[in-house]
């Protein structure tokens, strides 16, 4: 719909576009920096750790070395398996919780919502969580990384907010047609909050992808570790700021790829999850025409 723009609107558009360009530059740059660094020669990278616009002495050595790491491939496999099994479960529980929290005229709603929300702010701590999971057999297997993280109340609240924004008339007319709540949830509500579901899926996916902590306590076998744990071991090797001192004693390790391999590892582990976003992005297209449904 072409419309005549006022002068103010035009200035606004120009400024806005400029702002976006600046934003793109400063946010894209670091990723580009990492990319350049990963293809750089280690010595030259060490010599100039600052701004880089192209790889310093192009080499793919760091990637070759990273893929030689015996756990990179199994790490990928595990991370992907976790996503495949976890995401449906996440979405199901989240929608259940959100739908309940968004419904009205329930006698026990207050109590149950309290029971659900309370878990966001109080936890038993590491050791009871560990013992609990071990006693359930959720130890040293991938299920240990899938089931315990099946529901995030934060995400449920986001969905709840989206559901509450829908007009009540939708579900009411469905009830009149004889539908029960399960049908209403999956047939009517879920399609209408698709943008929010897409976001929540992204949140869960990235959450699983980036989570290394659970695997570090519940996995005993290196071959079952997800990719982030492998990345972490590459990144914090020799990083005394996090480890609290030099453990190695007689000087530390010398490695001709120490710096570049870190960057290569970041690229390797990040690119797959970045690819998810464009797929979900189409759900954010403006106006899944709630108005039409309303009318």
């Amino acid at each position: 719909m072409k419309q005549k723009q006022s002068k103010g609107d035009r200035i606004f558009t120009i400024l806005n576009t400029l702002f976006m360009l600046v934003l793109v530059i400063i946010t894209a740059y670091p990723m580009y920096h990492v990319l350049c660094a990963s293809f750089s020669n280690n010595t030259e990278l060490v010599a100039n750790p600052g701004l880089a616009f192209w790889p310093k002495g192009f080499t793919t050595g760091a990637y070759r070395l990273a893929f030689q790491h015996p756990l990179i491939l199994s790490g990928f496999k595990n991370s992907i398996l976790i996503l495949i099994f976890a995401l449906p479960l996440n979405m199901l529980l989240t929608l259940f919780a959100a739908y309940f929290m968004a419904s009205k005229n329930l006698m026990f709603k207050k109590v149950i919502v309290f029971v659900m929300m309370f878990t966001m702010f109080f936890g038993g701590g590491l050791i009871p969580m560990y013992l609990n999971q071990r006693s359930l057999g959720l130890y040293n297997n991938l299920a240990a990384l899938i089931i315990p993280g099946a529901l995030s109340m934060f995400n449920a609240i986001i969905c709840k907010t989206a559901i509450e924004n829908l007009p009540d008339s939708l579900s009411e007319s469905a009830y009149i047609d004889g539908a029960n709540d399960i049908v209403v949830l999956f047939r009517i509500i879920a399609p209408l909050i698709m943008p929010t579901i897409a976001v929540v899926l992204l949140y869960y996916a990235v959450g699983h992808w980036n989570n290394w902590f659970h695997a570090s306590i519940f996995i005993e076998d290196n071959k079952l570790l997800p990719i982030q744990n492998i990345l972490r071991s590459l990144l914090i090797m020799n990083q005394d700021a996090l480890g609290g001192g030099e453990l190695s004693g007689n000087g530390d390790r010398f490695d001709s790829y120490t710096e570049t391999i870190k960057y290569a590892a970041i690229i390797i582990t990040t690119v797959p999850i970045l690819c998810i976003y464009p797929f979900l992005q189409r759900f954010f297209v403006k106006g899944i025409t709630i108005g039409a449904v309303k009318g």
Partner: protein, 316 residues
């Protein structure tokens, strides 16, 4: 929230029973739906909650909760009496509130502006790129910040070009908050705006049409239609954010601070982390965690209440 009131008098077992039956009949599917959630939470959230007991013990992993020594409030007292307690509290609040003040509105701002971009492809590119920094490991981000802040680093090149003087930026305590918060915004602005972009998709397009007919400009539309449309999401996220006011992660601070900036940068989580290195003191960290929870819940409640009063949206 409209609630169906139960008749106040007479309160008899029979009438309550009746009400329950009625509620069950009408809402049984709703309860059925929430049942798996409740079971899940009971097993994975409530069952391990007994673990907070160790905050009142001198917990030894091998002896377990049953066998460890009971010390009452010693862990709490040790924390409150620590010479650094007030400094830690002050720093934690400062960093957290400054992050909220600047970091919370930033993605909203970005989402609003992105919404005004009419070229779909350009918009998509901006969106995709702006959320990339979120995926760079904090270890690497801090490595870059450190390299850039050195006397011959990029930041100093810029300062020098603008006529300023070179200095080691990270060793000056006045610089710590700006560096910490700006880098935080830079890293998460795109990612955090995603939720608002999704919420924007839910705004009724007819309203814009109507506004345009009334002759409202872009800015006006943004202020009077888009922003109110985002308000429920903003409110909920804000309340949740306030409910995490004491949760300032240790990892980034640990990587960026150094003795000269401890005075402003040392926070509760880094303090607990350092204690953890000296001895695996689970009791102490649980006690501090409990303290954090109480403070967080207090802030959550207050924000929730205020929000309920001011704009009639609330978490519960």
């Amino acid at each position: 929230m409209a609630k169906q009131r139960l008749p106040k008098t007479p309160v008899s077992v029979a009438s309550i029973g009746k009400a329950i039956m009625k509620d069950y009949k009408r809402n049984k599917f709703k309860y059925l739906i929430v049942l798996p959630v409740i079971i899940y939470l009971l097993i994975f959230a409530y069952k391990p909650m007994y673990g907070v007991i160790i905050a009142f013990q001198h917990y030894k992993p091998f002896l377990g909760i049953d066998g460890s020594k009971w010390v009452g409030f010693d862990n709490f007292i040790a924390f409150f009496n620590d010479v650094y307690f007030f400094r830690l509290l002050k720093n934690t609040f400062s960093i957290s509130l400054l992050s909220i003040l600047f970091g919370f509105p930033a993605p909203i701002f970005l989402a609003l502006l992105l919404n005004e971009i009419k070229n779909a492809r350009f918009k998509r590119v901006v969106q995709t790129i702006s959320y990339m920094p979120y995926f760079i490991s904090i270890v690497v981000v801090c490595g870059l910040i450190k390299a850039f802040s050195q006397t011959d680093g990029v930041f100093n090149d810029i300062i020098f070009a603008l006529g300023g003087e070179r200095s080691n930026l990270l060793s000056v305590k006045e610089n710590f908050y700006p560096i910490y918060i700006l880098s935080g915004i830079w890293q998460s602005i795109g990612w955090d705006s995603i939720i608002y972009l999704a919420a924007l998709a839910g705004i009724d397009q007819e309203q814009y049409e109507a506004a345009r007919v009334d002759g409202a400009g872009r800015l006006k539309q943004m202020l009077y239609i888009t922003l109110p449309g985002l308000l429920p999401t903003i409110t909920v996220l804000f309340i949740l954010r306030m409910g995490g006011v004491l949760n300032v992660g240790y990892e980034k601070i640990l990587l960026l601070y150094q003795p000269l900036t401890y005075e402003v940068a040392d926070v509760i989580s880094t303090y607990v982390f350092r204690k953890g290195i000296v001895e695996a003191n689970y009791s102490f960290s649980t006690a501090v965690g409990l303290f954090n929870s109480v403070v967080n819940i207090f802030f959550l409640m207050v924000t929730n209440k205020l929000s309920k009063k001011l704009n009639h949206t609330s978490l519960f």
